[in-house]
């Protein structure tokens, strides 16, 4: 197994991304409008407000992890809805449409119990923004676990987003592309399984990077001890 794990036939190409933000002109001033606009918004807008939040906050954690929950908490001040929206995890769903359905279902259920509809009194409306993700190959590749470790430590954090998170929610790669490559190319099933379980709710993308590095380091040390 150790020999098979030494070099991959298919190298891992690290690709980063940059997000161009387009203002859609859609806005909501109360929770019903929020629901209606979420229903009609382009998929790239739902994606912007739920998934790429982590691209904009790769390190800072502590507030709700999506824009809908933050707006409801800060501007509408409806803590119950904010808490419910805050638990929506887009990386558990295989598509943005499933994320949209989940959010709509929570809003529908919440609004059924409320009269009148909570609205912004002093704060700002919710503005819908649309994400255009431009992928950029970084030129960094890895064939072995050691090369993978070195690249992971240095690569732009957007590559962590693209391979670990975007791959799950928009490409249907369960566990993300890092885990997939480690398992399929290096034959490291246990490491792949652990890497695939890492999620951004541990403290943002930089935290994911740190934890992945720790897992890889442990694997490399184990291999060294085994070789000795």
């Amino acid at each position: 197994m150790a020999e098979r794990a030494a070099t991959a036939t298919r190298p891992f190409h690290f690709t980063g991304c940059v997000e161009l933000r387009e203002i859609t002109g859609r806005r909501a001033r109360d929770e019903r409008e929020l629901m209606e606009e979420i229903e009609g918004a382009p998929a790239e807008s739902i994606y912007y407000h739920t998934d790429t939040v982590f691209l904009r906050r790769p390190l800072v954690a502590g507030s709700y992890p999506n824009d809908f929950a933050i707006w409801v908490a800060v501007q509408i001040r409806d803590q119950v809805l904010a808490e419910r929206l805050g638990m929506v995890d887009p990386f558990l769903f295989e598509s943005v449409e499933r994320t949209r359905e989940e959010i709509l279902s929570i809003l529908d259920d919440h609004l059924e119990r409320l009269n009148p509809v909570p609205r912004v009194v002093f704060g700002d409306p919710f503005f819908f923004v649309r994400s255009h993700l431009i992928e950029v190959p970084t030129g960094i590749t890895a064939r072995s676990l050691a090369e993978f470790r070195a690249a992971l430590a240095e690569v732009d954090v957007s590559a962590i987003y693209l391979h670990a998170l975007d791959a799950r929610s928009r490409r249907g790669v369960r566990g993300g592309q890092f885990a997939e490559w480690l398992g399929e190319e290096l034959g490291l099933a246990e490491l792949a399984e652990r890497v695939g379980r890492l999620n951004p709710y541990l403290g943002g993308l930089e935290r994911v990077r740190q934890m992945m590095l720790a897992l890889v380091d442990a694997q490399l040390e184990g291999a060294l001890r085994g070789a000795a």
């Binding site: 940059v18 387009e22 203002i23 800072v60 507030s63 700002d124 503005f127 970084t138 240095e154 954090v157």
Partner: protein, 402 residues
């Protein structure tokens, strides 16, 4: 054009890990393409300040960037100043002669300037009508830096007909966007971490810069840096400080300027000074516009930094403060709500009492203040540094041109 300053390599130590290499890879997509910026001044104001660094950095990463300036007489700039105020919601008078002079000046500039580029980025209203003379090739984008949330109708409807002839527009906040039949992109402004206003300072430099100001530094310092303008609410800041004072023996510093040519600003400054005359722990500093190092030193010395605006454009002073590792309490308005993550990097407030409450809380919990300060610095590193700004302009070019 050669403007001295650090190249892109100098940003490796301050930008997020891997960001400079990534920027260089991204730039490959538009290497050798021609990016033309047009604005109204090379010196003074936030747009010129950022272009002085962005243009050389663009060239450094392989984009051929040029920076053109629109010229005009006193009447032209009087009209554009009226536009600026009207677009930000102030009622202004526009005569046909004024509008005609604006158009004539733009046409005269168009015949003089070199406006051939793969991407021509026109900043703000002054050169907006240059689009009438756009060449057949190249993409034209209008970059609006000002708060267009509630413009005076007549001014906006005049300008709008030119904006519609662009291929796209760029705004600093979604709230500033308008109903337009062209794509509207969102690009936040940024701070330059290597500029005097933000660069690291040695303790001896801070001591030397602050010695003449006579601010006691052995007690907690609460600071607000902003123009003496009623929308920055310096009187509200003083009232919040007074509410905190019975609980914490702190010092308040209000540092700013801009009152010289603004009668209302002079009144606000006078009111602040009157309050300071009754309390020796309130320090009101009317600083010159080039006091960047002094402001930097003040921010690094502060315990908590406020930006208690009641109305704000983007409010980059918030990012400047967070870059110094300080928790920030800001008014819940404009770009302040984009920069502050409530409970993580500071707090947003809607009242004097709210401001006082969170100042008192942070003074009582220095460990929480330190944690928020550190989180704020990282939030700025990822989102509000010039390297991110450069990345977005280059990706805009890649999308529109490539």
């Amino acid at each position: 054009m050669s403007i001295p300053g650090p190249g892109i390599e100098a940003y490796r130590d301050v930008a997020p890990r891997g960001a400079v290499d990534f920027l260089l890879h991204l730039s490959e997509r538009v290497r050798g393409r021609h990016f033309v910026h047009v604005n109204s001044t090379r010196v003074g104001g936030g747009v010129a300040e950022i272009l002085r660094r962005l243009v050389p950095l663009m060239n450094d990463v392989g984009v051929k960037a040029d920076w053109e300036i629109i010229e005009g007489d006193r009447d032209f700039f009087a009209v554009t100043k009226a536009f600026h105020n009207a677009l930000q919601g102030e009622e202004q008078v526009f005569t046909e002669a004024m509008l005609e002079h604006y158009l004539a000046s733009n046409r005269a500039n168009a015949s003089r300037m070199s406006l051939n580029g793969d991407l021509v980025l026109i900043h703000d209203p002054q050169p907006a009508a240059l689009v009438e003379s756009r060449p057949a090739d190249g993409q034209w984008v209008w970059r609006c830096h000002i708060d267009l949330a509630s413009p005076q109708r007549r001014a906006w409807s005049f300008l709008r007909r030119f904006v519609l002839r662009y291929d796209a527009a760029v705004f600093s906040l979604p709230a500033f966007a308008q109903q337009l039949a062209i794509p509207q992109f969102l690009v936040y402004p940024s701070i330059d971490p290597l500029a005097d206003k933000n660069r690291e300072l040695e303790p001896s430099e801070i001591d030397a810069l602050l010695a003449p100001l006579g601010i006691p530094r052995e007690r907690p310092v609460v600071l607000q840096v902003s123009r003496f303008d009623r929308f920055k609410d310096p009187i509200g800041v003083i009232n919040a400080y007074r509410m905190v004072k019975p609980y914490h023996d702190c010092v308040l510093v209000l540092a700013g300027g801009g009152a010289d040519d603004d009668p209302e600003g002079a009144r606000v400054l006078a009111a602040a000074r009157e309050a300071a005359a009754r309390d020796s722990d309130i320090h009101v500093l009317d600083l010159p516009p080039d006091a960047h190092l002094t402001i930097n030193a003040l921010q690094r010395t502060a315990t908590i930094i406020l930006q208690k605006s009641t109305r704000e454009g983007f409010g980059l002073t918030v990012s400047e403060a967070m870059w110094k590792g300080k928790p920030v309490i800001g008014g819940a308005t404009g770009g302040i709500t984009t920069q502050i993550l409530p409970g993580v990097t500071g707090y947003t407030v809607s009242s004097v009492e709210g401001c006082a409450y969170w100042v008192r809380h942070l003074l009582a919990h220095p460990e929480a203040a330190a944690r928020m300060g550190a989180a704020g610095r990282e939030h700025v590193r990822q989102n509000f540094l010039i390297t991110r700004h450069l990345r977005e302009y280059i990706s805009l070019m890649a999308r529109l041109v490539s």
